[in-house]
């Protein structure tokens, strides 16, 4: 069965995020003066085949731990769903 995971990787709270600060400053200079903070991060969409939901959840957790996020500086959160309507070409949404 095919699963789709959407993994968000962000810097841990308290770690300076100069990209986010620069984006916040850009938004303020465009007139969005109430913007107080932006934190930048990464979005990873992963499609994979595995039998059941528990295994899929465990697989995503392991991918995050082993590669996708570095726990020294980052945290990962994810949403996981079964891909009910697989595209014929397998392309991710």
């Amino acid at each position: 069965m095919r699963w789709l995971a959407e993994v968000r990787v962000t810097l841990r709270p308290g770690i300076a995020d100069p990209q986010g600060e620069t984006i916040a400053s850009g938004l303020r200079s465009l007139g969005y003066e109430t913007v107080t903070e932006v934190r930048a991060g990464k979005l990873l969409r992963i499609a994979f085949e595995i039998d059941d939901a528990a295994s899929a959840e465990a697989a995503v957790e392991e991918m995050c731990r082993r590669l996708l996020a570095n726990p020294v500086m980052e945290t990962a959160t994810w949403e996981l769903r079964a891909d009910e309507q697989q595209d014929a070409d397998g392309a991710l949404p």
Partner: protein
């Protein structure tokens, strides 16, 4: 036991590594033997020291150094390091060493978001290990830096532990040797430019010693690290055993 033969260094090359030939040039100039090892190789071969050079291993995709850690040769590098062999990771090589867990902490995007390519003063705070044993604490050296992601980060407990165990060996300094915000090119916590592992045999530093190896390049302070290594190898009977 002393070593008569020239030191043998293995310089690891990942796809995207860019400083490997500079290390080989230094080795050639010193009369050493250098071998480039492609990242898919399983063995280092005969080696007295291993270098992970700068560059953009595997394109630095996902995070700097993150994918290089899984290259087949890294298992051999880890084994060499854990056996006490001298390992130097410069720039991207430092990033690879942190991702591989051979050194603590991580290197983040420079605080000003710019790629910084410049000469940089560094203060040696502890002259330990094969690469810095020939220096003295307090020595100032000038080496090039060339990186966009060199902001050293570790949690406070790790930073305290590194300092109390004398493992913060190099700090960014101003020309007078003071570790100040103005002398810090990337926002590294506590001005950290280089650290060693617990045993002292693995050194990670963001600057490039190989690019300061000839007065014609603008400086040769980097040679002091190579001279340290040569002296250390001559003093270590264990090093001779590793050559077998």
């Amino acid at each position: 036991m002393t070593i008569a033969a020239a030191p043998r260094i293995v310089v690891v090359v990942f796809p995207g590594t860019w400083s490997e030939r500079d290390f080989v040039d230094v080795a050639d100039a010193l009369g050493w033997q250098a071998r480039l090892a492609w990242h898919t190789e399983a063995d280092l071969g005969p080696a007295d020291a291993v270098v992970l050079p700068g560059g953009f291993a595997h394109g630095d995709h996902l995070r700097t150094g993150a994918l290089a850690r899984f290259s087949p040769i890294m298992a051999a590098v880890e084994a060499f390091a854990r056996a006490g062999g001298p390992v130097l990771g410069s720039c991207n090589g430092f990033q690879v060493l942190t991702e591989a867990g051979l050194l603590p902490g991580a290197l983040l995007r420079n605080d000003h978001l710019e790629f910084r390519c410049d000469w940089q003063w560094l203060r040696c705070d502890d002259a330990v290990g094969p690469w810095l044993g020939g220096l003295e604490a307090g020595d100032l050296i000038r080496l090039p830096i060339s990186h966009g992601e060199g902001r050293y980060f570790a949690d406070e407990a790790t930073l305290d532990q590194l300092e109390s165990s004398h493992r913060v060996v190099l700090r960014y300094a101003d020309p007078s040797g003071a570790v100040t915000a103005a002398g810090n090119p990337n926002g590294s916590l506590r001005g950290i430019a280089g650290i060693v592992n617990e045993r002292g045999n693995v050194l990670g530093l963001m600057p490039h010693p190989e690019r300061a190896s000839d007065p014609e390049l603008g400086g040769d302070d980097g040679l002091r690290l190579f001279a340290s290594l040569e002296r250390w190898l001559q003093e270590q009977p264990a090093a001779a055993e590793r050559r077998l």
